[in-house]
């Protein structure tokens, strides 16, 4: 694979094998009105006076194209704000690209925000069942799988306690196990390996490996190079909404390291600040 930086991936030839995911020059623009949300009064008054409200536009994605064959797994890397999550959300059908087109052959299922939809006052079991139904199973199917899920999350003892009593690790374990119940054809995962201790993380990785081995298609983002290397067949590097390169994991990771180094040179980390807090835990898994 090429290790040079290419601005645009190869166009898809007509005879390409069946693409599970096809993204054609997708751009996404967000418009944020100044001063927070505009109140109705300003909208009405402004509208009558012919004034447009001040708008900040932000292109989260610019002309992104790629295709992914069934059974392949794609990693998307890039620093915070590069557009990874926006891209994954569009793949899941949340929101509409401002330009371009996304087509998916099969039903896409997404693990975007772990534990979203969990309610702290409900028990683990109640949340598990709601979560399972929300990800597309009937209640009967969820009930049939619940023991397996509880076993996977290792929460046999506390499953009937309200989720607010759980530790962060327990919460994430339940969230991951719940989300993995569904057996979709295309799975989209946004940095979800932040789960529990090292042993549980390994378990999750094995689960995803099994999913790949079953010939399913996978799209994921991760900040951990070892996960990208272990799970992805090909990798896209995003920088400010653009595809900087597409290639095999090692080449992409090298390219990403260069980008990070560039960025570090432009905006140096303050060493005295870092030195003053040597015990500061590394926050890698913001949710």
């Amino acid at each position: 694979m090429t290790s040079s930086t290419i601005s645009r991936p190869r166009p898809l030839s007509a005879s390409a094998p069946r693409a599970a995911v096809l993204v054609e020059s997708v751009s996404k623009r967000f418009r944020v009105r100044c001063l927070g949300r505009m109140a109705l009064k300003e909208a009405l008054v402004g509208g009558m006076l012919g004034r447009r409200p001040p708008v900040v536009t932000h292109w989260a994605l610019r002309d992104v194209s790629f295709s992914l064959r069934t059974g392949r797994s794609l990693g998307i890397i890039g620093h915070n704000g590069a557009g990874k999550s926006t891209l994954l959300r569009l793949l899941c059908g949340l929101g509409r690209p401002t330009r371009g087109r996304i087509s998916c052959a099969d039903r896409v299922s997404g693990l975007l925000e772990l534990g979203s939809g969990f309610h702290p006052d409900l028990t683990g079991r109640e949340n598990l069942i709601t979560g399972g139904i929300l990800s597309g199973l009937t209640e009967r199917e969820v009930r049939a799988r619940q023991d397996e899920v509880i076993g996977f999350a290792e929460l046999e003892e506390s499953i009937d306690l309200p989720v607010r009593t759980y530790s962060t690790g327990m919460y994430l374990r339940l969230a991951f196990a719940t989300a993995m119940q569904l057996d979709p054809a295309v799975l989209v995962m946004d940095e979800v390996f932040a789960v529990g201790d090292a042993r549980f993380q390994r378990k999750c990785l094995e689960r995803v490996e099994a999913f790949r081995a079953a010939g399913k298609t996978l799209v994921l983002t991760s900040q951990a190079p070892e996960h990208v290397r272990a799970l992805c067949d090909e990798v896209i590097v995003l920088e400010e909404g653009r595809v900087v390169m597409q290639g095999d994991p090692d080449a992409a990771l090298a390219c990403y390291r260069e980008l990070l180094a560039d960025r570090g040179a432009r905006r140096p980390a303050t060493p005295e600040h870092a030195a003053s807090r040597p015990d500061r835990p590394e926050v890698r898994w913001a949710t």
């Binding site: 109140a39 109705l40 949340l94 299922s109 006052d121 069942i129 709601t130 199973l137």
Partner: protein, 251 residues
Amino acid sequence: MRYHFDLIRNLVQRDFSLSYRRSALGMLWSLLLPLAQLLVLVFVFQAVVPLRIEAYPAFVFSALLPWTWFSTCVTAAADIFVNNRDLVRRPNFSPAILMVVNTLSNFVTYLVALPILLGILVWYGRTLTPALLLFPVLALAQGLLMVGIGLLVGTFNVFYRDVHYIVSLGLMLLFYLTPIFYQPRELLGGYHLIYALNPAAGLIESYRAIFFYGVAPGAGQLGLVAVSSLVMASLGYLFYRREADDIIDHL
């Protein structure tokens, strides 16, 4: 089909158990509120300014219950997308379902209060007639009406939070413009127009016809109720559909 049934039932259950979890009286609260309102209205319009309507408590309560369903439901609908950001931003989940869930879970409260209404009606010597069989029709029409209004105000509220206040204000005014504690024939002159334009009025009058008077509402009235519900539901849904993608970006 089976799936959507499960989804809605589960979310209604969840809504319901969340409303009353960790409260000692639980469900009773949803009965106490309309009963307290009934006491106030009976006190004012039987003792302070008598309206001289026979069996007044039964007269009021037969209209107050559907009104309570309407107002709690529409109030909650305004904030529903904003408060359920998590669910709205879930892949493969259609946020419009939240409106159906909201309507249904408030309907359950109505159903639970229904025996009290029947008790009051019997106590005041009203006879229960087969006209009551029209109840599901009216409830369905009201449900559609509220899902429509809910989609409209809920969607608007994502972009302009003023809608939340407009809804409270509107419901307050509507309470007095709807013949809940008075008879519409006491209305004079131009006020009839307000009555004709108010979709809740025909509905409330129809409920009162089947519960209090024991007669089926006129075909004209029933037709008007059905048409206004369908129009409202389609308007709400069309508006929501047009804005659905923007809702996700704005939350």
